[in-house]
């Protein structure tokens, strides 16, 4: 990184509020004041966003030097997406993905509630950087209060500090796969909020056939701070390879379930401690989301980075961390999640439409002690055939969850196969899982 170029940025003037965790950046205002930031609060804390004519680094370069990656789940380098869209000819469009499809995740909702202008700043800055004239903000339709509050924030900007681009809010059906980038593009073009597959990718041909930049809401909030304080500041938190902070939704068997902002590289156990610590001895955590991985409790010292989690087959994903106690049947919980994921298939691709329910049924049979002799090998084969066989990554996520459950809860598997359901399988389930019913509408 070119440090002299980085130094041209306004120096660090963000200080975490009293009592707030030291890592807080996006949530600093919330920790300092305990209330959502209106435009005045926001400008007082962060100052106006740089306009780009102050001799600072071009935004794409600053974001590249900062090493920001997408916070929506896939973890793709943000600057590469920006660069790809900026390099296309013609007008482009920016889409803010605040669909938050992971049922245990609340981070985008929380961020937009307490720091809406940080997200909107990031979207406007990104739009200006790639030459877009419109920003579409995609919100889940079942979060009406969030929509109203964000509309008010947009209105406030229009009155007090008009943006150089148009900001438009949209309420989309809240399904598991409606958050996929191509689902948003299809919906914004008047179609169903179902993945489109590719090629062409959204950055080549997206909304209205224009090159389209789709970024998660949290990613854009980080970008808004990088634009102000520069890459060197951003890198003060996190690890050299995975800098910055991320929002984590911690739930399950912890004393104080919360959305927390932690530096990348924070051990998982420390994150749980920041959520008040475990209420009971833990058996495992679900990391990343329903499309994530079960990690046995013995791995809780692992730092929260892609690099450290990869050998365990895990990733930070959408920043979901669900702690579950020893009194839990991992197979029953996984079967419930798989049934939900199967019901939320967009039913466009054969391997997903047929494979997901089959894997979910096998898992249910295992969990309820109805397994035949061939079940385990059939289940492994079917789950093994899911990855890379859909127009989107939905089947890959379900396969990852299934495989990790068989590994993390291998004791349960043996017990269920030999003696039928374990005592824990008869207890009420621990995880909140939405009903396994197909979405009512895609439009």
């Amino acid at each position: 990184m070119n440090s002299s170029a980085a130094a041209r940025f306004t120096p660090h003037r963000l200080s975490p509020g009293p009592g707030g965790p030291a890592a807080a950046r996006l949530l600093a205002g919330w920790y300092a004041t305990g209330r959502p930031a209106g435009l005045t609060d926001h400008l007082r804390r962060y100052g106006p966003p740089p306009t780009g004519d102050r001799g600072s680094l071009p935004l794409v370069d600053a974001v590249a030097a900062a090493g920001l990656t997408g916070r929506g789940g896939a973890g793709f380098p943000t600057a590469r997406k920006l660069g790809a869209v900026a390099a296309r000819r013609g007008r482009c469009t920016v889409v803010v993905n605040a669909m938050e499809s992971e049922p245990p995740s609340r981070k985008d909702q929380f961020l937009i509630a307490v720091a809406p202008h940080l997200v909107l700043d990031g979207a406007v800055l990104a739009a200006t950087a790639v030459g877009a004239d419109t920003v579409h903000v995609c919100l889940p339709r079942d979060r009406a209060a969030q929509y109203r509050r964000l509309s008010a924030a947009v209105e406030e900007r229009r009155r007090c500090r008009p943006d150089p681009v148009r900001l438009r809010l949209h309420a989309l059906p809240h399904t598991y796969v409606s958050s996929e980038a191509t689902s948003l593009v299809r919906w914004l073009d008047g179609g169903p909020a179902r993945p489109r597959g590719g090629p062409p990718r959204a950055h080549e041909r997206g909304v209205g056939r224009r090159p389209t930049l789709v970024h998660n809401a949290e990613t854009l909030a980080h970008l808004a701070l990088i634009a102000r304080y520069g890459p060197a500041w951003f890198r003060q938190a996190g690890t050299p390879d995975e800098p910055g902070t991320l929002l984590v939704t911690v739930s399950g068997a912890v004393r104080a379930p919360a959305v927390l902002e932690v530096a990348l590289g924070t051990p998982l156990a420390t994150v749980l401690d920041q959520a008040g610590g475990a209420t009971q001895p833990l058996r495992a955590v679900l990391l990343g989301g329903f499309a994530g991985t079960w990690l046995p409790a013995r791995h809780l010292r692992t730092p929260l980075t892609r690099h450290d989690l990869a050998p365990l087959g895990a990733a930070p994903g959408a920043g979901v961390l669900v702690a579950v106690s020893e009194a839990l049947c991992g197979l029953t919980e996984t079967a419930r999640i798989l049934a939900y994921l199967a019901a939320h298939s967009a039913r466009q691709c054969g391997p997903c439409r047929l494979g997901l329910p089959a894997v979910a049924e096998d898992f249910t049979a295992l969990a309820t002690g109805r397994a035949d002799a061939a079940l385990l090998s059939r289940l492994r084969r079917r789950a093994g055939l899911l990855p890379d066989r859909g127009a989107c990554r939905h089947p890959d996520g379900a396969a990852r969850l299934a495989a990790s459950a068989l590994q993390a809860f291998a004791d349960d598997v043996d017990h269920h196969l030999a003696h039928g359901p374990c005592p824990a399988a008869r207890q009420p389930p621990q995880l909140p899982v939405p009903p396994a019913t197909a979405p009512e509408t895609w439009r």
């Binding site: 691709c349 054969g350 391997p351 494979g355 127009a391």
Partner: protein, 70 residues
């Protein structure tokens, strides 16, 4: 510069039943529901003609070969 061809299935368009697997069994298997499983996405030179035939035979134009310049 060499050119390799890679196989790709448009998963939304594909209706299963696996005509492609019949014409290109070296690279394509079928799952228990008749949907293609690509054993290898790289088309070796000796199978080019077979791959082209399979692509042409797909009734819904779901099978593609992409040109990757490497």
């Amino acid at each position: 510069m060499s050119r390799t061809r890679t196989l790709r299935v448009d998963r939304i368009a594909c209706t299963g039943q696996g005509l492609c697997a019949e014409l290109l069994p070296e690279l394509i298997d079928l799952d228990e529901w008749g949907y293609p499983v690509l054993k290898d996405t790289t088309v070796p030179d000796r199978l080019r003609a077979h791959a082209r035939r399979a692509v042409a035979a797909c009734p819904v134009l779901a099978l593609h070969t992409d040109d990757d310049r490497t």
